[in-house]
């Protein structure tokens, strides 16, 4: 039987909005849809969530992945340090977003700035306004980034949870496969197979965030019309974290005069919306999948970088406050054609567009005017791959990718609070920039010793019209030594492209970030090794180390009153990550992980500020511990089994950001904290015969921790408040 490459998936279509892709790939002899596992599902349509308890460890650990080498393979074989969050995990732990799932993954640390979560990986964070841009986030292999900032939206606005089959998470560089921004890791969301999708799956949740009402809805429907499959999904959230205090550690928050002395936030509302549409046409000769996504976010900006606690009523009686409101649309087309028994041709394309929505406004602490941001982007990302599988031991992919991004540059417009009109001279500048990146890559896998030793490698060359050439590579050996032992030894390099925002930003207020058109890519090289052991069907463990060298790290450095990003810094260090899983059939499932990150850095600067911050790593915790357990409980009602699940994260101390250290005049450290979630849910409740209905009561931040995470603009971010909500889900 010839092993087939799993095409990198994606599709798109769309005309107004929507949709996603899928995976196909049941037939082992036929190429699967992009970025999706090609193995035959181990359980049929009737056995997905309903049989959650039967998912033993062996199956979970042998889940097929396709992100590591664009080839369908088991996690053990995949040439990357990879974790998978399955559909069942999302249900069990009650994740409400991809961001929440990542919080519980080894190596990741998310700072929730109450607008767009900021992800760090293995001791490295992106800093101010990074918006999780240090990782590449994809849905079915297609980037979802908001191009102007290269940010990734990881909340409800990313994708309806009901359409997720699994989330494949790579820690480590992957530019050799995915180009720019696959810098510290890759998150690839694989959408559900047409054959496994429910006709309708609806999930609603409602409760309270602190004392504020909240609600979420997530509905996905699908149908098969002969060779055509259609999936439609929508998800929305309304939440409100208002009431959070300004952390006492904050050295210099900028609070408008009209709210002087205020100690708590008044507007941290969160509205998110995503619509998804996917239509696939699949035959033995290949497939054509069209998909589209339309996403929007709106956030109350009481912890925005420009001014804090800006919401309220100013002295003139005007309702004021920062609101961040952004939108984006992506249309994808993914085609795969089996040219011969050994050669497949894949062509994928994405049209993307995004910008600022009309509700967006930024308070800059002036009583006379506020600022409307004005920037936008649109472009295409086209990818072509030839996949060659001459025999079951070898495969290779030759690909080329072109990304064209037309950016309408940031242009703040001051709006009079008295008249609501743009102030004299302020108008759209009309300035634009065209950014073009062309890349080509070669990737190959070879079974040196069948079933025991596999070699994998690849190289990619990118040329960008602004910052020139980048060459990245990867290589590794994955081994299965028998007895449940496996090892991986890997090397990879990657680059993080300068974002249009960092290149061309203009200050919204005195002291704000200003662009640096000379900014160059940041680069990283990583050597990593992992040892894993599956003792039996109940217990497994893995431990690994990774050493990172990060060069040309962009840091915000003073340029007069302002801050500008410059490639001045370097960082290197070691991460040690260990995780163990223990499962007893359907009754008990648990995991625990621990990680240590020991990094040092060279700020690349001299003088007072460099001396003050020293060489110790900051922002990212030196250690993090995680644990989770779910256990079946006796029924309170006849024939309604219950399940209790809890997860905890213990985050070690974090040194404050450089900016905040400067403001304080000394290094300070934020206290460790414990984040605890718990839920009580039903299992196997069939109110309608054959269709499971599911109820749960969930609590996030159960102990109500009020510690802070590092901020970057003179204040720190309070942790998200406690959430208590009731969730109901029904699939038909």
């Amino acid at each position: 039987m010839v092993r087939r490459l799993s095409p990198r998936a994606h599709p798109f279509l769309l005309v107004g909005l929507l949709v996603a892709q899928t995976v196909r790939a049941e037939e082992p002899a036929a190429p699967a849809a992009a970025a999706a596992p090609s193995s035959k599902p181990e359980s049929g349509p009737n056995a997905s969530e309903e049989n959650l308890g039967e998912l033993d460890l062996v199956r979970l650990l042998n889940v097929q992945v396709s992100t590591a080498s664009k080839t369908s393979e088991s996690m053990d074989e995949a040439p990357a340090i990879i974790s998978v969050v399955t559909r069942e995990d999302i249900q069990r732990w009650g994740y409400q977003s991809v961001a929440e799932a990542l919080q519980h993954v080894v190596g990741f640390y998310l700072i929730d700035d109450h607008i767009i979560a900021n992800t760090g990986v293995r001791g490295v964070t992106g800093g101010l306004g990074a918006e999780s841009g240090v990782i590449k986030v994809m849905i079915d292999g297609r980037s979802v980034s908001y191009r102007t900032t290269s940010g990734n939206w990881l909340g409800v606005e990313l994708v309806p949870l009901g359409s997720i089959k699994q989330i494949e998470i790579i820690r480590g560089p992957a530019s050799a496969l995915y180009g720019a921004d696959a810098f510290l890791g890759v998150v690839n969301i694989i959408t559900v197979d047409p054959a496994q999708a429910k006709t309708v799956e609806a999930r609603v949740a409602g409760g309270y965030t602190s004392m504020n009402p909240q609600g979420r809805v997530d509905v996905v429907g699908s149908t098969l019309l002969g060779p055509i499959d259609v999936l439609v999904g929508v998800a929305a959230e309304s939440n409100d974290r208002s009431g959070l205090d300004m952390p006492a550690s904050s050295p210099a928050p900028l609070i408008p005069e009209y709210n002087s002395g205020q100690r708590y936030s008044r507007d941290l509302h969160r509205s998110s919306l995503v619509a998804q549409l996917r239509a696939g046409y699949r035959t033995e000769q290949g497939h054509l999948i069209l998909s589209g996504y339309a996403s929007g976010i709106e956030r109350g900006g009481d912890f925005a970088q420009w001014s804090q606690f800006s919401s309220g009523v100013d002295r003139a009686g005007n309702a004021v406050g920062t609101v961040v409101s952004l939108g984006q649309v992506r249309l994808n087309a993914d085609s795969l054609y089996h040219v011969t028994d050994t050669v497949d041709l894949a062509l994928q394309g994405t049209y993307f567009q995004g910008g600022v929505l009309p509700q967006d406004r930024v308070e800059v602490a002036s009583n006379l005017f506020y600022v409307e941001r004005d920037f936008a982007y649109r472009g295409v990302d086209v990818n072509m791959e030839v996949r060659w599988t001459p025999n079951e031991r070898f495969n290779a992919i030759l690909g080329a990718e072109t990304v064209f991004d037309h950016e309408s540059l940031p242009n703040p417009i001051r709006i009079s609070k008295e008249t609501g009109r743009a102030l004299g001279g302020d108008a759209s500048s009309g300035a634009t920039r065209d950014l073009l990146n062309v890349g080509t890559f070669l990737s190959a896998n070879y079974q040196l010793v069948k079933q025991y030793l596999k070699a994998s490698g690849g190289v990619r060359y990118d040329h960008h019209n602004l910052y020139g050439d980048q060459l990245t590579g990867r290589g590794g050996l994955t081994s299965n030594w028998g007895g449940g032992f496996g090892t991986k030894i890997l090397y990879g390099s990657a680059f993080k492209a300068p974002t249009p925002m960092l290149l061309y930003s203009v200050p919204l207020r005195p002291g704000d970030v200003i662009g640096n058109e000379n900014l160059k890519p940041q680069t990283i090289q990583t050597v990593e090794a992992q040892l894993s052991w599956k003792m039996n069907r109940s217990f497994s463990a893995s431990t690994g180390v990774a050493y990172n060298w990060l060069f040309n790290k962009a840091e915000f450095t003073p340029q007069g009153l302002n801050q500008t990003a410059q490639n001045v810094s370097s960082q290197q260090g070691l991460s040690w990550e260990t995780r163990a899983d223990y499962t007893i059939g359907r009754k008990f499932q648990s995991y625990a992980s621990f990680e240590i990150h020991q990094y040092s850095r060279d700020s690349g600067q001299e003088g007072y500020k460099a001396d003050l911050v020293g060489s110790a790593n900051n922002v990212f915790p030196n250690w993090v511990g995680r644990a989770g357990a779910s256990v079946g409980l006796p029924s309170f009602f006849a024939a309604v089994p219950l399940e209790f699940a809890t997860q905890a994260i213990v985050v070690g101390p974090r040194v404050a950001s450089d900016t905040n250290i400067f403001e304080t005049g000394r290094i300070y450290t934020l206290d460790p904290y414990v984040w605890l979630n718990a839920s009580l849910s039903t299992r196997e409740l069939y109110l309608i015969p054959g269709h499971e209905t599911y109820f749960a009561i969930r609590v996030k931040n159960l102990i109500g921790g009020r510690q802070a995470d590092p901020g970057f603009s003179g204040f720190d971010y309070p942790l998200a408040p406690r959430e208590v909500f009731f969730e109901a889900r029904h699939s038909y």
């Binding site: 302020d426 028998g482 005195p510 001299e606 001396d611």
Partner: protein
């Protein structure tokens, strides 16, 4: 060994080979982490001559500090490359004033404890005046490169406070003459509530009235506000011929933006010397400052050689106006220290050093320019008579420490840039 050679036992051998040995693993990881966490610390040399630097790296007037520090470090590099002074290296130790009196006092104590022979800074005379006593008590020379005194008459001249910029009174009077000469007859003065800005505003008002003009209002700005809408509305209602603005760049930018928002037309601005900085322009709406006029201490070396050296040293960063003065301060210090001829450890005799500062920029002798510090130091060591002639012109001090012959120049904002007219 026997097991390893027995094919039947190979699987077991493999397992044994990969069996975790916790203590060894821990030892290896511990070593790795220890190696990673060891960073090379730069140990200060006790023999270094320490120059203290007090600048606003943070706080309400932050913005210029890092740029000025870079000018000092650039000079220190050149001095150390030329063998240092008195056979010892110069070491610059910086501290943050935070534009706050208490924080500045604490920072000065830190610098004195570090053994500073002289302290350069701070950004405003208001803060400087509160520090003089501590510096005198510690026999530390005090040089303020960029500010003059708010009020010269209140100074104790037994301990000179070296100021390289003309006084606020001189600059304010010079600006008033420019305003009147330009034809404005009614002005509104908007000044921050610092001593320097107050003194500057008062000097403008006083001279402008004497010239026959009318000052419609003198509006004071509190330094720690994010908006000045009330002050701006008050000023705008007066409809003066021109606005005079004396504030830090941050406050100045806020006010300029808000005046621009309040008026239907571009205001005619007259600016204090502290606003002659690109960072002020970069933070004000385009065209809002077009045609603005100001006066500032004159910089004599206007060529590209200094900016070029600065850019090369600091990743393309451009020197601000004040950076020229800070460079000169460091150059002057080096010449003065070397000329004391002090030998041995510790700092030179304070009285000798103070006198050397007066002499370092005073003829006779051969002038040493900013890029000739190495040559100047070498000649001093040979016993030649030289003096430092800096980027900002002759550095001659009155007995009280104020700069003699402080020359001003007029500047104008044209197409978003400062243009010096030399008038």
């Amino acid at each position: 060994m026997t097991e390893r050679n027995d094919p039947k036992s190979r699987p077991h051998a493999q397992r044994a080979h990969f069996r975790l040995r916790p203590w060894r693993t821990a030892l290896a990881l511990g070593s790795l982490f220890a190696a990673t966490s060891c960073t090379e610390a730069v140990k200060p040399n006790d023999d270094d001559i320490v120059i203290g630097l007090l600048l606003p790296f943070t706080g309400s007037t932050a913005g210029n500090g890092a740029n000025f520090e870079r000018a000092v470090l650039l000079a220190a590099d050149r001095i150390n490359a030329a063998g240092g002074v008195l056979g010892r290296s110069i070491r610059v130790v910086a501290a943050d004033s935070h534009s706050d009196v208490e924080r500045s006092r604490s920072s000065v104590e830190t610098l004195i404890d570090a053994g500073a022979v002289a302290i350069l800074g701070p950004e405003s005379p208001d803060i400087a005046l509160t520090l003089i006593e501590a510096m005198n008590a510690a026999d530390v020379a005090f040089i303020s490169p960029l500010v003059g005194a708010g009020s010269e008459t209140e100074l104790d001249c037994t301990h000179p406070w070296f100021r390289m910029a003309p006084s606020a009174q001189d600059l304010g009077a010079a600006l008033a003459k420019e305003i009147f000469a330009d034809g404005a007859r009614q002005i509104a003065i908007i000044a921050a509530d610092t001593d320097y800005d107050r003194a500057f505003g008062s000097a403008v008002a006083s001279r402008f009235k004497r010239l026959g003009g009318e000052v419609l209002s003198e509006i004071e700005l509190a330094t720690r506000k994010g908006t000045y809408d009330a002050e701006v509305r008050e000023a705008a209602l007066l409809s003066p011929d021109a606005f005079v603005l004396a504030a830090s760049p941050r406050i100045g930018a806020t006010v300029a933006n808000e005046i621009d928002a309040e008026l239907d037309q571009t205001a005619q601005w007259y600016l204090s010397p502290l606003l002659k900085t690109e960072i002020f322009l970069e933070n004000v709406a385009p065209r809002a400052l077009e045609g603005a006029v100001g006066v500032a201490p004159r910089i004599f070396e206007r060529g590209d050689s200094f900016p070029s050296a600065f850019r090369e040293r600091w990743l393309g960063d451009e020197p601000l106006e004040g950076a020229y003065f800070y460079y000169d301060a460091m150059g002057l210090l080096a010449i003065a220290l070397e000329s004391t001829g002090f030998e041995g450890g510790g700092n030179p005799n304070f009285a000798d050093f103070r006198q050397a500062l007066f002499n370092a920029a005073a003829p006779p002798g051969e002038a040493v320019r900013w890029f000739e510090l190495d040559l100047g130091l070498e000649r001093l060591r040979k016993g030649d008579d030289i003096y430092y002639s800096g980027l900002t012109g002759p550095l001659l001090f009155e007995s009280c420490g104020s700069r003699r012959l402080g020359v001003t120049e007029r500047f104008t904002v044209k197409s978003g840039d400062f243009v010096s007219s030399g008038r």
